[in-house]
């Protein structure tokens, strides 16, 4: 639902870098997005296409790398992937403890762009 402001923010950053590097056309944009985000890939692209019309980023393809939600065990430091649909009775696969910190899954990051 909130794809529009997020896409606007991406476009602003892309256009800033496009101007800095004097590119004529942006072909692709590399993004890292955490799986805890509720963004939909299809709608991200549609909103981006709408917002970028008439700019050097028009027609750029979003290449999204989804970053898994990873928990780190507070006891032994073991890291493991969280299945967000199964939160019941989770214990550390290494030591069996139940206290964790979330180390990834909330990313919202522009990695790079392919441009000419």
């Amino acid at each position: 639902m909130h794809e529009l402001p997020v896409m606007q923010s991406i476009l602003t950053i892309i256009l800033k870098h496009a101007a800095m590097h004097r590119v004529k056309k942006v072909h692709a944009i590399g993004l890292s997005v955490g799986t805890l985000s509720d963004l939909e890939e299809e709608w991200m692209q549609k909103y981006f296409d709408h917002l970028s019309a008439g700019t050097v980023a028009q027609g750029a393809k979003l290449k999204i790398q989804w970053v898994p939600a990873v928990l780190s065990c507070d006891e032994c430091g073991n890291r493991f992937e969280l299945d967000k649909t199964k939160l019941d009775g989770i214990t550390c696969p290494a030591c069996g403890q139940r206290k964790f910190s979330l180390v990834s899954g909330r990313e919202y990051h522009i990695r790079d762009m392919e441009a000419e």
Partner: protein, 222 residues
């Protein structure tokens, strides 16, 4: 054909909002005003809990409320009816508040005359979780009728909040809501979150919540 090159960017997508939120927190610290961002789905009891919180704290803290609604002023009227300064932001279809909207909303208050401003965010468990509003603490309400499975559906929201109010606990006897399962699910996502049980209708647990909030406010403004 021109050569295609790969240009490194390495920027956070919402960095502008984050920067604005950090600036707002700095300004609030200077003015000694605590900002609480309260989030929930529609109908979980935000307005009722706010009114009960005001009852508990109004003699000890000077309170204001920033109401966000897509297109109505009903909630702001209820709060203003309690004699509390209330400012309404119509989000005009926007599903959440960001730091710049909150910052503009706060311009309508005299910050130096308030200790605590509560933001009643748009009723939605998805979008508000993504946008730092500039608040000092994030709170959410989950009401019993919504079910204990909500952390499975909206994990981000549960992971960004400092405190969770499980509201409408007076409905527990009429539901199969599993409190232990809820605690486990929430604590897996967010081990540091404080969880409190409340009922806006009976007032149960509101004192514990109000005391928690008062401690947080005092710590920030003193």
């Amino acid at each position: 054909m021109a050569e295609i090159k790969l240009i490194e960017i390495k920027e956070e997508i919402l960095s502008d909002n984050k920067k604005e939120a950090d600036e707002l927190r700095g300004k609030l610290k200077d003015r000694k005003t605590f900002l609480l961002n309260l989030m929930s789905s529609p109908g979980a009891g935000k307005t009722t809990i706010i009114l009960k919180t005001i009852e508990h704290l109004r003699k000890r803290l000077r309170i204001g409320v920033l109401e966000a609604d897509i297109d109505s002023v009903v909630d702001a009227q209820k709060v203003a009816g309690a004699g509390i300064p209330a400012v309404q932001i119509r989000t005009g279809g926007f599903c959440h508040l960001d730091a710049s909207m909150v910052s503009r909303g706060l311009d309508a208050f005299d910050l130096s005359s308030l200790d605590l401003i509560i933001i009643e965010n748009v009723g939605n468990l998805v979008c508000p979780a993504e946008f730092d509003t500039g608040a000092v603490r994030n709170a959410m309400i989950l009401s019993v009728p919504e079910g204990d499975d909500k952390p499975l559906k909206y994990p981000l929201m549960f992971s960004v909040c400092d405190v969770l109010l499980v509201n409408k606990v007076d409905y527990l006897g009429m539901s199969d809501f599993d409190m232990q399962a809820l605690y486990d699910r929430v604590r897996t996502l967010n081990p540091k979150i404080a969880i409190m049980k409340t009922s806006g209708r009976t007032g149960q647990g509101v004192d514990t919540w109000a005391d928690w909030l008062e401690v947080e406010v005092k710590r920030f403004i003193d």
